[in-house]
Amino acid sequence: MPSNGTINLRRGFDIKLEGIAPKKLTDLPISALVAVQPPDFLHVTPKMVVKQGDEVQAGAPLFHDKDHPEVFFTSPVSGEVVEIVRGEKRRILEVRILADKNATSRAFPRANPATLSREQVVNRLLDSGAWVFIRQRPYSLIARPTDTPKAIFISGFDSAPLAPDLGFMLEHAGSNFQTGLDALAKLTNGKVHLGLPANASSVLQQAQGVTQTVFNGPHPAGNVGVQIHHVDPINPHEVVWYIHVQDVVNIGRLFAEGVYRPERIVALTGSEATERGYFRTVQGVHLKELLQNRVNTDNVRLIQGNVLTGHKTNSNAFLSAYAHQITAIPEGNEYEFMGWLTPGFNKLSRSRTFFSWLNKNKSYRLNTNTRGEERAFVVTGEYEKVLPMDILPTYLLKAILANDIEKMEQLGIYEVSEEDFALCEFVCTSKINVQKIISDGLEMIRKEG
């Protein structure tokens, strides 16, 4: 198969945390309650198709996007719509479905996607609801069916702290992963790119019909944005699509087995998770099923996703659409006497200002303390060390803060996403919320059209 060879990335940083998930897969019983949460999807205004009390099958539409009525959001299970939870201004937060025991899916004709036309593939994905897991750069929005992306990118590994091993997640996928890739290949006139780690599992290496590129280096080498930047960077007015490997498998199953069964293998990680591992369940599952008796709850922060880009959650929430990992770490709401003055053998820092540099391989039980207050931007050259892209981070951030749209475009805002700047935020001496600035900038550009 075509290969782009290896790209070595020097810049970046691996945050070594305690609480990696052992490679042990546990099947969770189907939860009684699942939910599809419109706020998971950026800039989607839901318009309900069902109402409370309706019976639905897996793959049956629940709502669609007001601005893109062809994009349906469907039920991951069969059961009854028991509640539509609304927040302020009647904004829809959750569509809750009580799963029945039958687990029936709408039936879709089985087909080899290679024999279908692009239009047939697109329609099948839209109809089943699998479409919403294909997203686009720039802006990380759900892909627009009317666009034809110049390429599709799939990262074959996650390099974030305590991230799940995607190769392990794919071990049980059988041929569905390949079928999914075949379907995606129909969607672009360009290539489907698969980014691999140096020690990729055979499932990934054997993928056909894709262009493989090996990325060597610390986090964020596994970020799809970094991979796009190095393989086929996004110019103004260009669109690329990306998708998570688990969603590729779900798409494969849709075509190969003719059912919509959006599985999720979730890695439970973090120092405060008592029973760590990989748990197979369904999208939108109620987290209680997953977390009960498996995490400490006393003064613990639960995160959907990883510690850099995930969002805070609680055990009474539902699994987010794009989450593949739950992280549990201690809260850090405590004072530390003269903390900035201590030798700091136990303090993780990318700099060598603390003596923790003596032990490079140590894993840390980091808590959520900010380790100091926010200050004016002073130290330069830090962000550059953890951003393996040909982007001038400080100048891009300044352009955003100055609302200078032209400069933002010139400095490559189309090529970035807030997750690519998460490490910049982590290392920032002045404790500036870098990701927020980037997302504000992207939003400004998006509105500008």
Binding site: L17, F337, G339, W340, G372, E373, T380, L392, V434, Q435
Partner: protein
């Protein structure tokens, strides 16, 4: 520590909005966060943070300055006793220097931090830690004989006109400590040149040794480079000069620590030295054949160990706020500072120390240097899009 924390928690309401000591919140906050890393937790972005903060960063620079400070004290005593031809132990030297230098440091911190806190309170933000370093750099870059009122003036000038008028920490475009020194240099030239480098407080029953001269290497090098102290003495620091600048060796030790910890930009430090050395070599090529002791004949490395070159390269040029901010720009910025310093020293005999003005000059040009680097990145992207 619990008791201290409880005390702080007890008095805190007085300083908060509506409390009777509301006006002193910035001062309270500075002390509180000095004693305790706050209990703030992350929200919105990353969930964990690197342990480094501005306090630790500035403290690291202070550590890197300590060897030159201690040596500066020793040398102050040494130069003093030498001038009177007296035997003195290391302890004598150190004690003499300690007594002379501590007041300068205390006044610098007192005056500067006072103004910092005032501005923080007026502007409603926390006290930035930058002055921890600035407050040390000011005395270290001055002669030991500088009157205390001048140190106070420099500290206040530094904070107000070096920093706050531009919008505060992070907004100034020139190194505040160096700007303060330049201010003193031009406002009170008599105090910063000539026979000011050695404390000549009379010793009972002693007179200055015959033919004593308090001139620094830089003052004599222009006429005759062989009249300077030996290269070894200049490298080790057994010479006259500003308190912190004499020992190249210890400054390099500080540089090594700054580079190792990642706090100081190795690009700037290396390129300043490189720029100075290359220009020194170039001067050798141009040197007039009929004047064998002309400064242009001085070995290129002389420039790196004389005067404030090393001190400026390591502690002043590296100020991240006023230096070039792009990684490529830092190389150009450093090379220019080094080269320009040597040029000034050679071609402007009236003003022997080129380092101070050279750094300030390229502080001003740093944004321009960065502009070209940024433009290059923009053009590259543009070219790619047009393909």
């Amino acid at each position: 520590m619990k008791a201290l924390r409880n005390l702080l928690d007890k008095v805190q309401p007085n300083f908060e909005k509506g409390g009777k000591l509301e006006k002193f919140y910035a001062a309270y906050n500075a002390i509180e966060t000095f004693l305790f890393v706050p209990n703030h937790t992350t929200h919105g972005g990353v969930h964990v943070r690197d342990a480094v903060d501005l306090k630790r960063t500035m403290f690291t620079v202070i550590i890197a300055l300590l060897p030159t400070l201690v040596f500066g004290m020793w040398n102050t005593g040494y130069q003093h006793y030498q001038a009177f031809g007296m035997e003195s132990s290391h302890i004598d030297n150190l004690l003499f220097g300690l007594i002379k230098i501590m007041p300068l440091i205390i006044v610098s911190y007192g005056a500067g931090l006072g103004v910092e806190i005032l501005f923080a309170q007026m502007r409603g933000h926390a006290v930035n830690e930058g002055y921890l370093v600035t407050g040390m750099l000011i005395p270290l870059s001055l002669p030991v004989t500088t009157p205390l009122w001048m140190v106070a003036l420099a500290a206040i000038f530094c904070v107000v006109l070096g920093k706050e008028v531009f919008g505060g920490t992070g907004m100034n475009f020139m190194n505040p400590a160096l700007l303060a020194r330049a201010f003193l240099f031009f406002a009170f030239p008599a105090y910063l040149s000539g026979e000011v480098w050695v404390d000549l407080t009379p010793e009972a029953g002693r007179a200055l040794v015959d033919g004593y001269s308090g001139a620094t290497a830089l003052a004599v090098v222009d006429a005759n480079y062989t009249a300077t102290p030996s290269a070894w003495d200049m490298f080790m620091g057994f010479e006259k000069g500003s308190i912190g600048e004499t020992s190249t060796l210890l400054i390099l030790l500080g540089a090594a620590y700054l580079i190792f910890t990642g706090v100081g930009s190795w690009r700037i430090i290396v390129s300043v030295f490189l720029g100075g050395y290359l220009m020194g070599l170039f001067m050798n090529v141009l040197a007039p054949a009929d004047a064998p002791t002309h400064i242009m004949h001085a070995p290129a490395y002389y420039h790196l160990i004389m005067g404030g070159f090393a001190f400026g390269a390591v502690y002043m040029a590296t100020d991240p706020v006023s230096a070039a901010q792009t990684e490529a720009g830092k190389w150009i910025y450093g090379l220019l500072i080094g080269a320009f310093t040597v040029t000034l020293r050679v071609f402007n005999p009236a003003y022997p120390e080129g380092m101070m003005l050279s750094i300030l000059f390229f502080n001003v040009f740093a944004p321009l240097i960065d502009h070209f680097v940024v433009q290059r990145n923009i053009n590259k992207r543009l070219k790619r899009a047009l393909q």
